[in-house]
Symmetry: C2
Subunit: 112 residues, 2 copies
DNA sequence: TTTATTGTTTCCAATTATGGAAACATTGCA
DNA sequence: TGCAATGTTTCCATAATTGGAAACAATAAA
């Protein structure tokens, strides 16, 4: 595997790393409604503002959200709608897995 | 945020965690062609078989691939085609980000 | 059975990610 | 200017992830 290919895989992995945390998924989900400032999001989850800020900056670094200063507030908004497809994809896969698991335990619909 | 919701976000994050490693992305990409046994994949990347085995078991735990014993070999194959969409989604987002970055440096196509 | 092949699990050391507190920066307002 | 509100960065302790070696398990072949 050449270096360029390796870098490509690393880039993709970085994108998934940005999504690999429950709080970050939640933040993205929240930003689907509308823009939010850091303090609102931190209050919602009940965490320190510094923690929220760091998670948001990770999402921003991945190009999934962007920020805009508004006075002392910093409002974050969703920018890569593609990420929503990814999250839905993950959701579908989880549900599919659960369905298979149930089939394995009590195969009613599958007769093979 | 109630516990059930929290668990849902954690599940999605787990799915992305499974994808959050260059080697695992590579393995998925490889399995798109056909089934491969652990030794083949380990040799391809040039890593210890134990490492490959562990990565594969993570992908399996996420329900993205499945295994089948064939003699002393264990062949892994892709099962959740949805994951390919996710990877393509990530790829598109990365390219989009790169394009924006270029626009920011030298805005030729964007005149606003 | 003995040996070889293939995978998995278990250990360990090193790296990375995380959360919270404190320090610091920026902006708005009196 | 002085003070309050909001975010970011830095520091630290803790937790999680990772890769490799070795031990172990399972199967095939001699």
């Amino acid at each position: 595997m050449d270096e360029r290919t390796e870098r490509r895989y690393a880039l993709r992995a970085d994108m998934f790393k940005a999504l690999a945390h429950p709080m970050r998924i939640f933040l993205l989900d929240k930003l689907r409604e509308r823009s939010y400032c850091v303090c609102e999001l931190a209050a919602e989850v009940g965490i320190d503002k510094s923690v929220a800020s760091k998670h948001l900056s990770q999402l921003k670094a991945a190009g999934l959200i962007e920020d805009q200063k508004r006075g002392t507030l910093v409002e974050y908004s969703l920018v890569a709608s593609c990420v929503l497809e990814m999250v839905e994809c993950a959701e579908r896969t989880i549900l599919e897995n659960r369905r298979k698991q149930l089939d394995f335990i009590s195969p009613e619909s599958v007769s093979g």
